[in-house]
């Protein structure tokens, strides 16, 4: 049984069936890619996983526990972190603070009254934060205000914020969108390194097939809210159903 088990999930927005009977199993310690054309329901599926949306029916189990009905911060504390399609960072805070906050959340839990001690005296937290910034090549930007960075940098920052928590499951919604070619390569390398070093399970949504095929061990193709096929990358490439779903999109 996988660390993440999605069974029979349905979600309608008015008349639109955004998710129809989605079944998905992500095995521990693998990279599972979810691909599909625009509007297929990929982000909606992630929204269900992190507690942003409640599905109309179905179940979502993480490590044997249901995530449905839990608040987003509780789901994160269970070990699921998410990188959003449009970067969600603390835009008014410095890059360094952006990565310190998830460290505190990981160490101190959802709330801690920690009002007298100075942030500077948290040497362990500062070290963790610095280490992850070096991993994503952003150590030199630590004092920049996050909003002043490029879109690609914001994305890498958000990834660092998730990685620093050492999550058991990392959800990535188009992590390389808006990145320059070189940055995309760096990101692929980073994710690979993280995988071998820490053994994080990842579910990744991507349009860039280069990224998908260099990272994923299994791929699920989603179209109009329903999984079409699920298989290893080699078999997905030439699959007729996949071609059909991507009709007009030549990269598969």
């Amino acid at each position: 049984m996988g660390i993440l088990e999605v069974k029979g999930v349905n979600k309608r927005f008015g008349g639109l069936q955004a998710l129809g009977d989605v079944n998905l199993s992500v095995a521990e310690n693998t990279v599972h890619a979810i691909i599909g054309p625009n509007g297929a329901g990929k982000s909606t599926l992630l929204n269900v996983l992190v507690g942003k949306l409640i599905p109309d029916s179905g179940s979502v189990m993480f490590d044997g526990q249901s995530v449905l009905g839990r608040k987003p911060h509780e789901i994160n504390q269970m070990g699921i972190s998410r990188v959003f399609q449009t970067p969600e960072i603390f835009a008014d805070l410095s890059v360094f603070e952006n990565v310190m906050i998830p460290c505190f959340a990981k160490r101190d839990g959802a709330f801690r009254m920690h009002a007298i001690e100075s942030t500077h005296h948290e040497k362990d937290i500062a070290e963790q934060a610095m280490a992850i910034l070096e991993d994503v090549n952003m150590a030199d930007k630590r004092d920049m205000i996050a909003s002043s960075m490029s879109r690609g940098d914001k994305r890498r920052l958000e990834m660092a914020m998730c990685l620093v928590q050492d999550p058991r499951l990392l959800l990535l919604d188009e992590p390389t969108a808006g990145m320059a070619r070189a940055d995309t390569e760096n990101t692929i390398q980073l994710l690979k390194d993280i995988r071998t070093k820490r053994g994080i399970t990842m579910a990744i949504i991507e349009h860039d097939m280069n990224v998908v095929f260099s990272l994923a061990e299994r791929i699920t193709v989603l179209a109009q809210g329903t999984p079409l096929v699920e298989d290893v990358p080699e078999k997905i490439k030439g699959h007729p159903k996949v071609r059909e779903a991507y009709l007009g999109e030549a990269q598969v």
Binding site: K71, N76, E88, D92, L93, M100, I101, F104, I116, R142
Partner: protein
């Protein structure tokens, strides 16, 4: 030192020095001179207000400055603090210790309840909810609804609450002072120092209030630089990211709200300790609005801004409002008569009762040209003098390397 980095420490020392020397600094003119009559602000009643409202706005800034949640009902906590303190005078004695402790506790309890409810919403709805609560509390106090319900007096309605001779004052010893005091040290007694034409008044009450403001200022620096303070700024920046990072925003918000409510309660208790009477008007919405204006005028989210904002407004309210047309005429008496009349007529709407007009113009100018408040003006002036540009702001301060 004191757990502050060198820049914060310098700021803190400056504030301490200003508080200590205020009776001298605020009385720069000889008493008998016309400038002294108009502009000397170093008299105890006004200095008390400077520091007590400074304390109030420092607390307000922990909520508004860090989290961005604009409470429009903070005067309510000031009000309950004052009522609690006066009740302690009525029931126990004129010793201010129980009064001040209770004022903080009662304001804390009120802010837990109001905060819990108002924080279900954010943005403008949060502001409206706090305003509604404050106005409700004002109405209840103004008509003494609670007192009427139990057939007694609680807030004493329109008359306001004060201490009467037949109040129980159970702990009142023989020959104990009949004015607020700290273990015998009377708040309103003062030492006057006369040098030449100058007169400087050092009053116990002022120094006690200043001590509380200094402590409050110190605590606020610690909060600004703490992980808790960083979380509050994170809430202001992106609540979605907060919760997907595993942090529960609700208790953080509530803690900030209660802390700032307790600051307000303390300020209310101190107001009563300086002058042992209070009334519902202390909770009126204009009083809450004044707190907001003080914070914005001084510089929201800066450490020192709130103190300046409070100072400027109390100065305008007490000094500029006393300037009348006779005083204006005496200033411009050197001009030919037609010119004197012209100048006085132009200036007159802005002084005396028109001080609100001055305040309004000042406020507009600050909001338009100095979004960072008067603190930003201070920085610009410092920069002009060639000093390295420094901001007293949490943003840059928090990223400094450790000492």
């Amino acid at each position: 030192m004191l757990g502050l980095n060198s820049r914060d420490l310098r700021l803190f020392v400056i504030v301490c020095a200003l508080c200590l020397l205020a009776p001298i600094l605020l009385n720069p003119f000889p008493v008998a001179s016309s400038l002294g009559e108009s502009f000397n602000a170093g008299y105890p009643a006004l200095m008390q207000r400077f520091v007590i409202f400074g304390l109030l706005v420092i607390g307000f800034n922990i909520l508004f400055g860090l989290t961005g949640y604009l409470s429009f009902g903070h005067a309510a906590f000031l009000g309950v603090g004052s009522f609690a303190a006066v009740w302690m005078f009525k029931l126990l004695s004129y010793n201010i210790v129980p009064a001040i402790i209770l004022s903080v506790i009662v304001a804390g309890l009120f802010s837990v309840v109001i905060g819990y409810i108002a924080l279900r919403r954010s943005g403008i709805y949060f502001s409206i909810l706090t305003l509604a609560f404050a106005q409700m509390m004002y109405s209840i106090a103004y008509s003494d609804l609670v007192g009427k319900m139990f057939g007694t007096i609680v807030t004493n309605g329109e008359t306001g609450l004060q201490v009467y001779n037949d109040d129980p004052q159970f702990l009142m010893g023989e020959g104990a002072p009949t004015v607020p005091h700290l273990f015998g040290l009377e708040m309103n007694s003062a030492f006057t120092w006369k040098v030449g034409g100058w007169e400087f008044i050092f009053q116990n009450g002022y120094y006690l209030s200043a001590l509380f403001m200094i402590l409050g200022f110190y605590l606020s620096i610690r909060i600004f630089r703490s992980p808790f303070g960083m979380m509050l700024r994170a809430i202001k920046s992106n609540q979605t990211r907060m919760s997907y990072t595993g942090l529960d925003t609700k208790p953080y918000m509530l803690a900030a709200f209660v802390i700032s409510g307790m600051y307000a309660g303390l300020a209310g208790g101190l107001l009563a300790a300086m002058d042992p009477l209070t009334g519902a008007e202390r909770m009126f919405w204009t009083a809450s609005g004044e707190i907001v204006v003080m914070a914005i005028l001084g510089g929201v989210g800066t450490l020192l801004g709130p103190v300046f904002g409070a100072g400027v407004i109390k100065y305008l309210e007490n000094i500029v409002s006393k300037i009348n047309s006779d005083i204006l005429h005496s200033w411009f008496a050197f001009m030919p008569e037609w010119m004197e009349n012209l100048v006085v007529n132009i200036l007159y709407p802005f002084v005396g009762k028109g001080w609100h007009l001055t305040l309004g113009l000042l406020f507009m100018a600050v909001v338009i040209f100095l979004p960072g408040g008067l603190m930003q003006l201070g920085e610009k002036i410092l920069a002009l003098f060639g000093r390295k540009k420094k901001s007293d702001d949490a943003k840059t301060g928090a990223t400094e390397p450790a000492e």
